[in-house]
């Protein structure tokens, strides 16, 4: 049992990682992230990249929906805008990551501002409908703005570059994705503790009260939209480099809903929840599929039946989690930590 947590300086009080055990485990985690691509095979590295991209995008949606309470069904559209921006810039002008990532985020954020504009007047399900419209319009744009998006056939994306470095393989791209994901997480964790972050939460909890306290409603909501879309745009750009091709089929409405599921399963309004949600929603179907494929040598035919079953089990797991812990995996994590912290003197 840990007792006492004294702070002697303001710096200590402001630290993001407050206690030695937390710092220790974060260091271990950091080392593990660095070592991972050297020891893991192609397939785990591929999955890690996928998780990383999901983390970045889910953080964006969590800032918008979890923290600020602005439900969005257009997250895939934001990702798509970012992906096309990066793909167009790098395939036409051969620009490197230093330009394409910020540009992808920026263009997506601008699109987010437009989509977020109705949020002053409408909220809840109505806002969901407005963002749904954005999704549909974006999908239409991806298909029909052929001069930019390459239409139905999309754009073949050259490998990501940064100066003399080329990130052509999943393993090389892993470095970029982890760095960006770490930066994104760090920024979100800090934002949460700052005045703009608290303004987000105030708007979510009671918008009228927030306004009376001097939180500019419209500005805050727009900021959340821009920020959420920026994250999504960056994630979309990484997706483009990762998939090496961008077509309109990559960003359907179902992806937007998938991201809502990610943050709900992970934990709305928590930073770590976005990470847990991304890991859970990406890896669990893979694990289930791996389990199903264990049956292959014994009953090859069974795979055909087991494969749809994995979706059912996955759906059941999500429902189960939500029933037993509506606050998501983040809350389960907190409870587990509390258990060990208080052990053996849990009252």
């Amino acid at each position: 049992m840990r007792i006492g947590d004294f702070k002697e300086t303001y710096a200590a009080d402001e630290a993001l990682l407050r206690t030695p055990p937390v710092r220790f485990w974060m260091a271990v985690f950091g080392v593990a992230l660095v070592v991972f691509p050297w020891v893991a095979g192609d397939y785990p590295v591929y999955l890690a990249d996928l998780v990383g991209i999901t983390v970045i995008s889910a953080l964006g949606l969590n800032l918008l929906t979890g923290f600020t309470g602005q439900i969005s069904l257009g997250h895939a559209a934001f990702m798509g805008v970012g992906a096309y921006t990066a793909a167009a810039l790098s395939s036409r002008w051969g620009l490197g990551l230093w330009a394409t990532l910020p540009a992808a985020g920026g263009v997506a954020a601008a699109f987010g501002l437009v989509v977020g504009a109705p949020s002053l007047r409408i909220k809840g399900l109505y806002l969901a409908m407005a963002t749904l419209a954005a999704q549909v319009i974006a999908e239409f744009g991806f298909v029909h703005l052929e001069s930019i998006t390459g239409g139905i056939r999309g754009i073949n994306v050259p490998p990501a570059r940064l100066g003399p470095l080329e990130f052509g393989t999943d393993r090389a791209l892993y470095a970029v994705i982890v760095a960006v994901a770490a930066l994104a997480t760090w920024f979100a964790a800090n934002l949460k503790r700052s005045a703009p972050g608290r303004a987000f939460v105030a708007v979510r909890d009671r918008d009228i009260a927030a306004e009376i306290m001097g939180v500019p409603l419209f500005g805050t909501k727009l900021r959340a939209f821009a920020l959420g879309a920026f994250y999504a745009g960056v994630a979309g750009a990484l997706w483009a480099y990762f998939m090496k091709v961008v077509t309109p089929e990559h960003f359907p409405l179902s992806l937007s809903i998938h991201y809502l599921a990610v943050i709900i399963v992970g934990g709305l309004g928590t930073v770590i929840g976005s990470v847990f949600g991304a890991v859970f929603m990406t890896l669990v179907p893979e694990i289930l599929r791996g389990l199903a494929s264990l049956a292959r040598p014994h009953y090859p035919e069974a795979m055909v039946l087991l494969s749809p079953m994995t979706d059912v089990v996955f759906g059941g797991l999500i429902v189960g989690f939500l029933l037993f812990e509506p606050h998501g995996l983040a809350e389960i994590w907190q409870r587990t930590k509390r258990f060990f912290r208080l052990w053996p003197f849990v009252h």
């Binding site: 397939y43 591929y46 073949n156 999943d170 089929e249 599929r289 494969s307 749809p308 979706d311």
Partner: protein, 387 residues
């Protein structure tokens, strides 16, 4: 007791690897779930069955084929994940993919790193391009070729005066893929394209589309880019207006499903299929496939054309491996591609006419017409080979 159980478990585990080290592996990511599952399950079964059949008949020069597949749900990221997983675990020299999207996403890595022979469910014209996709092949005609075959048929069978046609396609990659080629080909053949109608997949209200047909009165309409809906609605709609139009479909809309759905209205519906149908019992290869199914799957009465695509693709994989073994080449992607390109007039027992790969595809097909009373498609042309 426990020890006995353990010993048994170990015994079972040891007995399982029936495949020796010298098997020839084929990997596959199959859309067993998701919106393409209706075909994916059959494609997968076709591949699994053809390999089982080849193995029963002595394998390829005595070597067995091992088929390793996993579900990929018709999602490009999952499909690529399955590809990487199977490549990491089994390193097969041949792989079967689930979609055009997967083929495009994997192409740079297949060309640079993996170097394996890659076939897929896709008939996309884009993928049949050995310069851009050196390891990819299309196991049949591309969608462009399908239009080519249908247009040649139309040019030879005008219904009075100059032949006219309308293209009716979906707003998707699948739908738009062959259109530029089709326009060019129609011009060459002297077929007038009187209308191009683009609509969404699964559209229910097609009144305006049908009115367009009423206005333009084409002799033929080629519908492409849909599996089912809105094909029945369009055909019924135009019948209500008393139009005498021959509707034609491409591969995915030429399965039994459409005859069942249309009922009596199916009469006269035409289209192209590059493979013989399961009920063409005079075709030697179909007889073999039926015999295999009777033994392995006694409950199965019918197999759709997607199953036969799987079967044929499996034959191609096996043939390429066989050519490598005959010539004493190691079974690698490069040699398999060389083998594929060397195939000339390969007799496949009538499943297709003698096969020669041109630009990694087989530009051949046959026009069939639905007979509603018999509930099946009957051929109305001979095999048409594009030049």
């Amino acid at each position: 007791m426990l020890r006995k159980g353990l010993a048994m478990a170990v015994g079972i585990l040891m007995a399982v690897p029936a495949f020796g080290a010298d098997t020839i592996k084929v990997g596959a990511s199959q859309p067993l779930t998701g919106r393409f599952a209706f075909a994916g399950v059959q494609l997968n079964q076709g591949l699994a069955d053809v390999f089982a059949w080849i193995n029963e008949n002595g394998g390829i020069k005595g070597r067995k084929i091992e088929y390793i597949f996993e579900d990929s749900g018709y999602q490009v990221d999952r499909a690529v994940a399955v590809f990487k997983k199977i490549m990491a675990e089994h390193k097969p020299p041949m792989f079967y993919g689930e979609s055009t999207g997967q083929g495009k996403a994997l192409a740079p890595e297949i060309t640079k790193t993996y170097k394996i022979l890659y076939g897929s469910t896709s008939f996309s014209s884009e993928l049949a391009n050995p310069e851009k996709y050196p390891y990819t092949f299309v196991s049949g005609p591309t969608y462009s070729d399908m239009f080519g075959v249908l247009l040649e048929y139309i040019a030879k069978n005008p219904k009075g005066g100059k032949p006219t046609v309308a293209f009716f396609y979906s707003d998707t990659e699948f739908g738009k893929d062959p259109i530029p080629y089709a326009r060019k080909k129609a011009k060459e053949l002297g077929v007038d394209v009187v209308a191009e109608i683009v609509t969404k997949v699964g559209a229910v209200d097609v009144t305006s589309e049908v009115l367009e047909l009423v206005k333009k009165k084409p002799q033929y309409v080629i519908i492409h880019g849909f599996v089912l809906s809105p094909i029945p609605q369009v055909i019924r709609g135009s019948k209500d207006y008393g139009l005498d139009i021959s509707f034609m479909g491409t591969f995915w809309s030429m399965s039994q499903m459409i005859i069942d759905k249309l009922g009596e209205d199916a009469d006269g519906y035409m289209g192209i299929n590059p493979y013989a149908y399961y009920y063409e019992t005079d075709v030697p290869m179909i007889q073999k496939i039926r015999a295999f199914n009777q033994k392995a799957h006694p409950d199965v009465k019918h197999r759709p054309n997607s199953y036969l695509q799987g079967w044929f693709t499996g034959m191609v994989f096996a043939k390429c491996a066989e050519i490598c073994l005959e010539n004493g080449w190691e079974i690698t992607g490069d040699n398999l591609v060389k083998a594929l390109e060397s195939i000339r007039d390969w007799d496949v027992g009538g499943l297709m006419p003698p096969v020669t790969f041109v630009n990694h595809k087989v530009p051949v097909g046959r026009v069939y017409r639905a007979d509603a009373a018999k509930k099946r498609f009957v051929p109305v042309s001979d095999w048409i080979r594009l030049q």
